[in-house]
Amino acid sequence: MSSEDSSLNYSYYPGCSLHASAGEYDLSTRELFKKLAIGLTEIPDWFCCGATPAHNVDELLSLSLCAKNLELADKIEGDVAVACAACFSRLKTTQHILAESDVKRKQVEKAIDAPLKLDGKVKHLLEILAKDLGLERLAAAVNKPLAGLKVACYYGCLLTRPTDVPNMDCVEAPTIMERVIEAVGAETVPWTHRLECCGANFTLSRPGVVIQLTNAILDSAKAAGADCIMVGCPLCHGNLDIRQKEIESVYKTTYNLPVFYLTQLVGLSVGLGADKLGLDAMIVNPTPLLKSKGLA
């Protein structure tokens, strides 16, 4: 879809986290898109994409679950909009693998008992804002620029890696998050850990791993002078926000870095109120920071 089109419409795959621990990501996505007049239709009765556990031990199951979701999405007009970086990665990986392997394609068709639909485009929200809507139109919608807010953009693993799969931006030096948030008036900081892994789903099985890896990320963001961190993934958010207090006590330090979803910060800049962005659901309270910048 070119940026010339006046109406943008997508099918929406929220993913499991957005219906529970990342409810504020879902809420702020819907409100932001409404405000920007971008159509979003949730795919009825979507299934879990299988996430990491499925491809970890059963690739065929993982591919089949994603192919099934792509089939459900195909019934709705428009490209597929995905909020969660992990779901986004699984859906894109499935399209990539099945386009390359005839053997796997036949197995998956048999498993879902339907012909494959691989031509639909799967897009992360960042891509929709930066490319489909376009930074100029995004900037034009801003009525409360995030002036003076220093944001550390955290990509984590799956928005960019591996090569040739997400194809959203450069794998090792992406700038899409920075471009989006600068377009709405914020400042960004250069920092070391924006592409490092937070430990993701080890939060359930081996939280010690997450505490160590996530501490390095928080430490790097703080050292770079960031006021807050921006993410596009509910797993990264869970580790950086929910576990932040625990990490502070383990490492005997204070970070106090609010962790925003990209839709919350962009939503703030287009004038959406705290109630429409789910700011009260954040564990690290963002209100003092936003007040000090005149944004609350």
Binding site: S17, A20, F47, V57, L61, E100, A111, P162, G199, R206
Partner: protein
Amino acid sequence: MDTRVKKKKMIISQETMDVDFVRKVEALSGTSVRSCFQCGKCSAGCPMATFMEHPPNRVVRLLQLGQWQRILAGRSIWYCASCETCSTRCPNKVYLASIMDALRKLSWDAEGASKESYVQLANKLFLQNIRTYGRQYEMRLAAVFNVKSGQFLKDLMLGPKLLAKGKLKMFHSKNKNLSEIEKIFTRIEEMRKKGEAL
């Protein structure tokens, strides 16, 4: 499988090389194990290498030398976070993250050869939830994990905080098309029984 294999002296000969196993890994992962020339970039960038007994490059080397039992008996493959850094940086396009997936599947099929039980338990519960409910329900997943792993107090302090923030849902609805997910699981099981899929 005998996990004591980890401590056994390594003997490499014509007999110990297991090309069949390597071929199976290559078929599952869609990538070449044999292309690796041990530059070590994967291990240099691996965020999880510090938790592994064999760093990623050594996993590939052991595989090339037919020492797959050592890998399956260890915990390295279960400590891979699937961050894809290795696959991204490999100069020979060895998709190591996919090799890790294949090795975990083969270990899984051998019914938990590794002692890294927590990660395997979490995976198992996650997949069971999909089969039963169609989607993932985090609260149920965490609660059942704690009970089954015997860590009743794990993250207990987080619970009330998350509930107050609306981050844990006590109740959830089921998908209307739930029977379709069961069919997918069953068809895959049947294909495997008939030898049509690995």
